[in-house]
C-alpha cells in the first residue's frame, strides 16, 4: 500500500493505462503543460516524468479550445481504433459538446446495430464549493444519467478514483467521470500493484442498522462524519457510496433499505431530477414494503451557484444537513416537509 492523493491517483491511473495499451491517448486543453496536474509524473510539474516526455506528442494531444470537436474527434477516433482519454477540465464545460455526447457517443453504437464500439473516457472535475462562480461550479451528472448509452462514475476517494478510472479505460463504451475538486487533495491508501474496480458495485463505506444513507461524491465524507456523530446519539447509520451511477447497484441499496427501513440520499447535484430523485424512485418502487419513513433527499437546492463566500457554502449537502435528515427519518426530530431542511430554498 502507498498513500496517494485523489488527484495523484488519477494521474497514476492515466500513466498505467497509457503504459498498458498503446492505443490509449490523452486529448485536452493544456494537458501538455500539465495544468490540471494529472498528466505529469505526480511530483513537480516539469520533471523527467512528464507525460509529454514519456509518451510523446503523438499520444499527448494538446488541443485548441474547441470542446465540440475535441469530444467528437475522440468519439471518431474511438470508433476507429484508439482508446482516448479526454480531459475536459471543468464539468461546466461539457455543455459545449453536448450534441456529441448525446447524439454521437451515446447513440452511435446502438443506431448502427453494434457495428462499432466507442471506448472513450471523458474526464471532468466539479469545482463546486470553491467560490468559482456559476460558470465553474456545476455538478451535471444527472442530465447525463438521463442519456442511455453513457456510463458515469463518481469516485469519492483515491482508491476508487484509480481503480474506477482503469476500468473506464478498459470499457468498450463511453464513460464520463465526474471528479470532485473538493476531494483532489484528500489522501488515501492505494495498492502498489495494478487493480481495477468493476462498475455497478457500490461500496458500503460504513455498515449500520437504523438508516441507509446513499451518498454521492463529496457527500460521502460528509455522510461518514454524520454517521460518526449519530453513532454517539445511538443511531446506527449505513453509508453506501454507489461509486458508479450508470450502471447503478440497485441491489446494494435495496438490500440495505430492506434491513434499515429508512433512506436518506445525499447528492451534491441540483434537486430536481437529481441522482437522488432516481434513487428515491427506485426504492419507492422496489422496496416500498420495507420503508418505515419518508425518503429524504439532501441535495443542492434549485438555485444557481453564487460566488460570494457568504452565499455559496450553505447550498451543498453537508454533515449537519445529513444528520438532520437522519434524525427526521428516525423520529428524533419532527418530520416536517423537507423544504425547511435546505431553507430558504425555493420549493417546486
Amino acid at each position: 500500500m502507498t498513500v496517494m492523493s485523489y488527484l495523484g491517483a488519477i494521474g497514476a491511473a492515466q500513466r498505467e493505462a497509457m503504459e498498458a495499451d498503446e492505443r490509449v491517448v490523452i486529448i485536452g486543453e493544456d494537458v501538455e503543460a500539465n495544468v490540471y496536474g494529472t498528466t505529469g509524473a505526480g511530483k513537480s510539474r516539469k520533471d523527467k516524468g512528464d507525460f509529454l516526455e514519456m509518451f510523446g506528442a503523438n499520444r499527448i494531444r494538446n488541443t485548441p479550445i474547441s470542446e465540440e470537436v475535441i469530444v467528437g474527434a475522440a468519439i471518431g477516433a474511438a470508433m476507429t481504433g484508439l482508446r482516448p482519454i479526454v480531459d475536459l477540465s471543468y464539468s461546466s464545460f461539457l455543455y459545449m459538446a453536448m450534441d456529441q455526447f448525446v447524439n454521437q457517443a451515446a447513440k452511435n453504437r446502438y443506431m448502427f446495430g453494434g457495428q462499432a464500439s466507442i471506448p472513450v473516457v471523458f474526464r471532468s472535475a466539479m469545482f463546486y464549493g470553491l467560490n468559482t462562480g456559476a460558470h465553474h461550479s456545476d455538478r451535471p451528472y444527472p442530465m447525463f444519467m438521463n442519456v442511455p448509452g453513457l456510463k458515469i462514475i463518481v469516485p469519492s476517494n483515491p482508491y476508487d478514483a484509480k481503480g474506477l478510472l482503469r476500468t473506464a479505460v478498459d470499457s468498450d463504451d463511453p464513460v464520463l467521470t465526474f471528479e470532485a475538486c473538493l476531494l483532489w487533495g484528500s489522501k488515501g491508501e492505494v495498492p502498489e500493484e495494478e487493480y481495477k474496480i468493476p462498475f455497478g458495485q457500490a461500496n458500503v463505506a460504513r455498515t449500520g442498522d437504523d438508516v441507509t444513507v446513499v451518498a454521492i461524491s463529496s457527500a460521502v465524507p460528509e455522510a461518514l462524519a454524520a454517521a460518526e456523530t449519530l453513532a454517539g446519539e445511538g443511531v446506527s447509520v449505513e453509508v453506501i457510496d454507489p461509486r458508479t451511477l450508470v450502471p447503478f447497484d440497485t441491489e446494494a441499496v435495496i438490500r440495505s433499505v430492506q434491513r434499515t427501513g429508512r433512506l436518506v440520499i445525499a447528492d451534491p447535484a441540483h434537486r430536481t431530477c437529481s441522482a437522488a430523485a432516481e434513487i428515491s424512485a427506485i426504492v419507492a418502487e422496489e422496496a416500498f414494503e420495507s420503508l418505515r419513513a419518508p425518503i429524504m433527499r439532501v441535495t443542492t437546492p434549485d438555485t444557481q451557484i453564487p460566488f460570494s463566500p457568504a452565499l455559496e457554502k450553505q447550498l451543498y449537502p453537508n454533515r449537519t444537513k445529513i444528520e438532520d435528515a437522519v434524525r427526521r427519518v428516525t423520529g428524533l426530530m419532527a418530520n416536517t416537509l423537507n423544504t425547511e431542511l435546505t431553507s430558504p430554498a425555493p420549493r417546486m
Partner: protein, 328 residues
C-alpha cells in the same frame, strides 16, 4: 487524372445505383412501405460518386441525413441498405438506424448523421486515429451548404490544420438547406473560408461533372495521404427532388426555371454522353449497365421483402458493448 475505362464505368454504375435506389425508395415512402422519410441524392450523384471514388476502399467517410448516396457511392451492397430503410432485421444496422442514421463500416462509412453538422467531428477523429496509428487512411466528411454554418466545421478545420490530419471536408452545396436558399444565410463563399484556416479551399463550379469532382477531391485526398493536411472542397450541385420525399410545402421556394435548367444538366446523362463520345462504352453496353443496376435494385427490394422484421428484444441490444444490467 489517369482513369481506366473500368473505373469510368464503375463511376457510372455507382451513379446509376444511387439514382435507381433513391427513385425506388422515394416510391416506397409514398406508398407507405418505408416508414418516416428519406432524403434522396437524385441530381447530386456526380458530386457523391466523384468524391467517393477518389477515396480508397479502406478510407473513412461520414455523412448526413441525405444518407444512402454516400455508402452506395463508397460501394455498399444495396440489399442491406434497402432493408434498413424498411426497418428489417437484415438491414445494415439491423433496422435500428433507418434512413437518416445509416452506417456501413465494411466500406468505411462511419455513420450518416441526422443532426446537421454533427458527423464532421467524427470524420476528424477518424483522421486523428489514422495519424496516431500511422495506417495511411484518409477520412472524408460530407456535409451540406446548410451544415457549413455550424460552428463545429470550423473547429474541425482548425484542429485538423494544426494537427495536419488526413481529412477532406466536402461541402455538397446544393444551394438550399431545406427551404432556405444558401445565399440568404451564407456570408461570404464557403470555399473561401478555408484560407483563414490555413488550408486549400476549392470550389467545383460544375458539380454535375463527375470527373471535375473526382479530380478536385483526388487532389485533396492525395495531399492528405502525403501528410500535408486537410482541405476543403465545395461542390456546387442541385437536388432534383424535394428536401425529403413526401414533404409537401405549400410554397415553392425554388424558381421553376432554375430547377429546369439544373435538371437539364443531369449528371448521369452527361456522363453517359461523355462515355459514348470518348468511346469508353457503346450505347448497348451502357444500356446493359443500366439494366444490371435496375436488377440490383429489384433484388435489393426482393431481399428486403423476404427479410423478417427484427425481434422486439433487439430494441434492448447493442446500447452498450457489455450490457450493464439484468434484462428482466
Amino acid at each position: 487524372m489517369d482513369l481506366s475505362s473500368q473505373n469510368l464505368l464503375e463511376m457510372q454504375r455507382r451513379m446509376l445505383r444511387i439514382r435507381r435506389f433513391d427513385e425506388r425508395a422515394s416510391k416506397m415512402v409514398k406508398r407507405g412501405q418505408i416508414p418516416g422519410t428519406v432524403h434522396t441524392s437524385i441530381g447530386q450523384e456526380a458530386q457523391v460518386v466523384g468524391a467517393c471514388m477518389a477515396l480508397g476502399d479502406g478510407d473513412y467517410m461520414s455523412g448526413n441525413h441525405r444518407s444512402h448516396g454516400h455508402p452506395i457511392g463508397k460501394g455498399s451492397p444495396l440489399g442491406p441498405l434497402m432493408a434498413e430503410l424498411v426497418g428489417k432485421a437484415t438491414g445494415v444496422c439491423q433496422g435500428k438506424g433507418g434512413s437518416l442514421h445509416l452506417a456501413d463500416f465494411a466500406v468505411g462509412s462511419l455513420g450518416e448523421s441526422g443532426i446537421v453538422g454533427s458527423s464532421i467531428p467524427i470524420a476528424t477523429g477518424a483522421a486523428l486515429s489514422s495519424k496516431v496509428l500511422g495506417n495511411g487512411k484518409v477520412s472524408l466528411a460530407f456535409f451540406g451548404d446548410g451544415a457549413a454554418n455550424q460552428g463545429c466545421l470550423y473547429e474541425a478545420m482548425n484542429i485538423s490544420g494544426v494537427w495536419n490530419l488526413p481529412v477532406v471536408f466536402l461541402c455538397e452545396n446544393n444551394q438550399y438547406a431545406l427551404s432556405t436558399p444558401a445565399h440568404t444565410v451564407t456570408s461570404g463563399v464557403i470555399a473561401d473560408r478555408a484560407a483563414g484556416f490555413g488550408m486549400p479551399g476549392v470550389r467545383v463550379e460544375d458539380g454535375q461533372d463527375v470527373l471535375a469532382v473526382f479530380e478536385a477531391v483526388t487532389t485533396a485526398v492525395e495531399r492528405a495521404r502525403r501528410g500535408e493536411g486537410p482541405s476543403l472542397v465545395e461542390v456546387v450541385t442541385y437536388r432534383f427532388n424535394e428536401h425529403s420525399e413526401g414533404l409537401r410545402l405549400g410554397t415553392d421556394y425554388r424558381d421553376a426555371e432554375e430547377k429546369a435548367a439544373w435538371v437539364e444538366r443531369d449528371p448521369i446523362v452527361l456522363f453517359r454522353r461523355h462515355l459514348e463520345r470518348e468511346g469508353i462504352a457503346t450505347a448497348e453496353e451502357l444500356d446493359a449497365l443500366e439494366a444490371e443496376v435496375l436488377a440490383e435494385v429489384d433484388e435489393a427490394v426482393r431481399f428486403t421483402d423476404e427479410s423478417p422484421y427484427p425481434d422486439p428484444s433487439v430494441a434492448f441490444k447493442d446500447l452498450y458493448t457489455e450490457p450493464i444490467g439484468a434484462i428482466a
